[in-house]
């Protein structure tokens, strides 16, 4: 009898920062294609490229295997954060099987139905012992909690969710998602990955509560109106002792809030929510995803040290969940706001040394507008967090 975990599985990562799309694709695939045809190829690319040009090039090179991807706010590999480049993350071997799908969002239902449709690829998957659903969503399209909800509707408790929200280098104008040769927006693309060996998720953020928990007394969608019956914006500005310009100027507020998230209290954790705007008239905060009314919320603070520590521990957390199997590769999905904080503190390169990961292990990922990781409960949308997927 064959040990199923010994069926071939491989993961390879290639990158390029060549300006020319064709050259970049060729460079990134150079070390991958020699291994054989991948089962799944994931393309993370700067919006500086024409993704409509890149997708057919990659698809043409990988043959019939599945391709998904998205635009980013930067790509990351061990020791290096790329800017304006592209990264190709590929897995293959008989130990893996993959199906993919996508769904398009609409203004009424947001991305929930899109995620539901994309997660439908699970139904076509011939499942092996371990299965996850990998999601890439438009990061600028409504409440990202809806992506998790829509995917969970299909995946249920038995399938962990992981993924990221596509970005656009902080232009905040529009992101793109790739499925096959199609370049989409306002969409969710998904890959159902099944393996004969474990796959596990690690989550860390390094943010700490600045305040005692507060009751969310009014919120709706991505608008947080009041905390403890006080206008949320005033609570936020006062607690963080915001400078005058952040109290009146939208751009100054955005810069200020970039590294001061909100925490949503859960049973045994705090989920982070990115504050990316303020309504100075209604005195409310605009949050990347819902802060549920009736729940408890924290104002969060972070230091370069605590955030750095989260980066180094996230791979360990993921690997520890592999039931004793060694990790053969990692994918990292890290919030672009963490990158800013680490970069401003001059420790961005240090954060990517990943001391707990062996030098032979492939690592690659991208800087996101939101991270998806559900391993317990039914929620799983994070901001300003780093999420790691470890594959045994």
């Amino acid at each position: 009898m064959t040990d199923a975990t010994k069926l071939e599985r491989w993961v390879l990562v290639g990158t390029s920062t060549a300006r020319d799309g064709a050259t970049a694709v060729q460079e990134a695939l150079a070390g991958i294609l020699g291994k054989g045809e991948p089962k799944l190829t994931i393309l993370f690319a700067s919006p500086a490229y024409d993704l409509g040009e890149l997708a057919p090039l990659v698809k043409g090179a990988i043959g019939s295997s599945e391709l998904i991807g998205c635009s980013t706010a930067g790509e990351l590999i061990r020791h290096q954060a790329l800017s304006g480049g592209l990264l190709i993350w590929a897995l293959g071997g008989d130990g893996f099987a993959v199906t993919t799908a996508h769904g398009l969002g609409n203004t009424e239902a947001g991305l929930r139905d899109a995620a539901h449709e994309a997660a439908g690829c699970l139904r076509q998957l011939q499942r092996k012992e371990h299965t996850i659903l990998f999601l890439l969503a438009d990061g600028l399209c409504g409440d990202q909690m809806e992506v998790v909800r829509g995917a969970y509707d299909v995946a249920g408790a038995g399938v962990p969710l992981i993924g990221g929200c596509a970005a656009d280098d902080m232009a905040l104008k529009g992101t793109q998602q790739i499925h096959g040769t199609e370049v989409l927006s306002n969409a969710v693309v998904a890959a159902a990955i099944t393996s004969n060996a474990p796959m596990a998720i690690g989550i860390a953020h390094g943010w700490l509560p600045l305040t005692e928990p507060m009751l969310v007394t009014e919120s709706k969608g991505t608008n947080l109106f009041s905390l403890d019956d006080r206008p949320a914006l005033d609570v936020y500005l006062d607690a963080h002792d915001a400078p005058p310009e952040a109290r009146t100027d939208s751009k100054a507020f955005f810069e200020f809030a970039h590294t001061r998230p909100i925490g949503v209290g859960r049973r045994n954790r705090i989920e982070i929510r990115y504050v990316y705007g303020a309504d100075f008239v209604k005195r409310s905060l605009v949050i990347f995803a819902e802060v549920p009314e009736g729940g408890m919320a924290y104002l969060m603070k972070g230091s370069s040290g605590s955030v750095l520590e989260a980066t180094s521990e996230v791979c360990s957390l993921a690997e520890q969940a592999l039931d004793g199997h060694p990790a053969r590769a990692f994918m990292l999905l890290e919030c672009v706001a963490r990158k800013s904080l680490l970069s401003n503190a001059g420790v961005l390169d240090q954060s990517l040394t990943l001391p707990n990961v062996g030098p032979e292990i492939p690592v690659g990922g991208f800087y996101t507008y939101g991270e998806i990781a559900r391993t317990e409960g039914s929620g799983g949308l994070h901001n300003q967090t780093i999420v790691a997927l470890a594959l045994a």
Binding site: R149, Y152, D153, G156, A157, G158, L208, P209, E212, P213, L215, V216, G265, R266, R267, N268, I270, P292, E293, G294, G295, M296, Y298, E376, G377, S378, G379
Partner: protein, 587 residues
């Protein structure tokens, strides 16, 4: 992280989930509940089925259903052991939340229990509030919207028009305009195809109007087949363009069920003046719409002040006409009809005249249109019929010793009056007039338009022996079918054909054809509008039976008319041998 007790917030977040704006959006609600209590599974179970679930496969749903006891349970799912807790909802439904691997703490269980009672209460309150809100919204909608088309009704139109007049978006540039749309001959759709088809047609028109206007315009249904469009325009050209597009769209064949119906509309346009009230503006558009109808339907007309004056005059005339009927100012005058064969006066056509106390004797053209619109035409018909019969019954034709034959006009409305046959019968009895000497004159159009209502009357008149005369023959729909279908005793050739005799060969051919056809069918022919001896001679040579016109006498009062029976007749054409019609049919 603070050590604030998690579970104390649980109840608050769960209840908040149940007070979202759409409590019926249960998929959102159970997602939020699951997230709030950090559960992998949430579901709402009915007595025998899973209504909604999250986090479980279809097989696992059955497991949930089987364990729906209302007590905490431990279930084995593929993802691990599920610790469940239940909360009763209304209608014997249960909310279940389940956490994999880790059980609820004592404190959580206490709060989940309280949650059950609170959710039930919240749901009931929400349902009651929602029902009340829905009832109020429905009542308001019913009060302000047309039930059939869903368009704003008159009440809401007037309200919105008042608001739009008060605060135009850009008064320097745009002016408010009203288009009053009335469907032409809509009654025919209901009569011919039934009210259901009529309703479908109205719905189609409402859709057309909605599609043609811009989003800030208002479309409403005032009543029946009357629609309104309120729009803003830089000038009258824009409004006229919109009216033309509406007319074009309505005038196309509309598919209603298996039928294609093609009817036109008439539109009145009125542009608001600063001092106009909503009522004035609608009235102005209404007047313009009537003007469009007068001009021939299927078109639009713009309001101007002269229409208001005309309307005022019409209102004055109507008021006076009502008084005239009360005071007996409507009288019958008589125009002689002569027999070419006998060379003498053999009958009269009775015509309505208004003996106006100030304006003198008025011909029908001065008041019949107003009488039609005011619904007085039936009464006028009845007065003339009664007066003429009573008068003529007293006259004697010296050649026969009997009363002369009598023709009386009956309007479309009069012919549809269910009491007509009874009244005629009573008059025949009262006056001892021979029914075969009484002819009721109707137009071809009357037969075509009102056939449904008039059919019964015509049959009853036929049974009395009264005959129909078709007035203005050749100018209406000329459906020969009606000549066979109804007891037509006389065709009256319209004066427009008689005018051309001796000058226009085509008219002569037409007249000859009509006479030949009438003789073949055994119908007598009266030529109207005979003014010259030449016309009389040609008509005689063509075989016409009777002549009527100024050549032989204008309509006169009863006294003068009776004298004509006793006076020798001048201006008779040279006689030809009378040839009886070979196929004359008795009717």
């Amino acid at each position: 992280m603070s050590s604030a007790p998690w579970s104390l917030h649980l109840l608050s977040e769960v209840l908040a989930a149940f007070t979202v704006e759409k409590p019926t959006a249960l998929r959102d609600v159970i997602s939020r509940v699951a997230e709030a209590v950090d559960a992998e599974v949430a579901a709402i179970l009915g007595p025998e089925q899973v209504l909604l679930s999250l986090g479980v496969t279809e097989e696992e749903q059955q497991l949930l259903l089987q364990s729906a006891t209302g007590r905490p349970a431990l279930l084995q799912l593929a993802a691990g052991q599920l610790h469940t807790h239940w909360a009763p909802l209304h209608n014997n439904e249960l909310l279940v939340v389940g956490r994999i691997r880790e059980n609820y703490t004592l404190e959580e269980r206490a709060l989940l229990r309280a949650m059950g009672r609170s959710i039930k209460l919240s749901t009931q309150v929400l349902e009651a509030v929602q029902a009340e809100k829905s009832a109020k919204e429905e009542a308001l909608r019913e009060a302000t919207h047309d039930y059939l088309t869903g368009l704003p009704n008159r009440r809401l139109v007037m309200q919105r028009l008042a608001e739009m007049l008060r605060s135009p978006p850009d008064p320097e540039v745009h002016r408010l305009a009203v288009l009053f749309i009335d469907l032409d001959r809509f009654k025919q759709i209901n009569d011919a195809h039934g009210h259901s088809t009529g309703d479908q047609y109205l719905l189609s028109v409402s859709r057309i109007l909605r599609e043609l206007v811009s989003t800030r315009d208002l479309v409403g249904r005032l009543a029946g087949d009357e629609f309104i469009v309120i729009t803003y325009s830089r000038g009258s050209a824009g409004v006229e363009n919109l009216a033309a597009r509406i007319l074009g769209a309505i005038d196309r064949p509309l598919q209603i069920g298996s039928r294609h119906l093609q009817y036109s509309a008439s539109i009145g346009l009125a542009v608001a003046d600063p001092q106009d009230s909503p009522e004035t503006l609608i009235d102005n558009a209404d007047l313009a719409m009537y003007r469009a109808k007068e001009l021939g339907r299927g078109r639009y007309a713009c309001f101007d002040r002269s229409l208001r004056e005309r309307a005022q005059n019409r209102a004055d005339t109507e008021r006076e006409l009502r008084l005239a009927l009360e005071r007996g100012e409507i009288v019958a005058h008589f125009q002689p009809i002569i027999s070419l064969r006998l060379g003498r006066v053999v009958g009269f056509e009775a015509l309505a005249r208004w003996r106006h106390p100030v304006r003198g004797l008025l011909p029908p053209g001065a008041f019949l249109t107003v009488a039609e619109e005011a619904g007085l035409i039936g009464e006028i018909d009845a007065v003339v019929l009664r007066n003429a019969c009573r008068t003529a019954a007293l006259w004697r034709d010296p050649a026969t010793g009997l009363p002369p034959r009598l023709s009386i006009n009956v309007s479309a409305r009069g012919l549809a009056d269910p009491s007509l046959a009874d009244r005629v019968q009573r008059l025949l009895v009262e006056t001892a007039l021979n029914s075969s000497h009484l002819y009721l004159e109707i137009t071809e159009t009357t037969l075509v338009e009102e056939v449904a209502e008039a059919y019964d009357n015509i049959n009853r008149l036929k049974a009395l022996g009264v005959r129909l005369a078709i007035d203005d023959f050749g100018t209406g729909y000329s459906s020969l079918r009606y000549l066979k279908r109804f007891p037509v005793g006389v065709i009256k050739i319209d004066r427009s054909f008689v005018d051309g005799l001796g000058e226009d060969p085509e008219d002569e051919v037409i007249v000859e054809t009509v006479i030949r056809m009438a003789k073949f069918l055994g119908i007598e022919v009266v030529a109207e509008g005979v003014e010259t001896l030449q016309q009389a001679s040609i008509l005689g040579s063509l075989g016409c039976d009777f002549l009527q016109g100024y050549l032989y006498g204008r309509p006169e009062d009863a006294e003068r008319s009776e004298q004509l029976l006793h006076e020798p007749l001048l201006n008779l054409p040279a006689r030809e041998e009378d040839q009886p019609s070979p196929n004359k049919l008795m009717r």
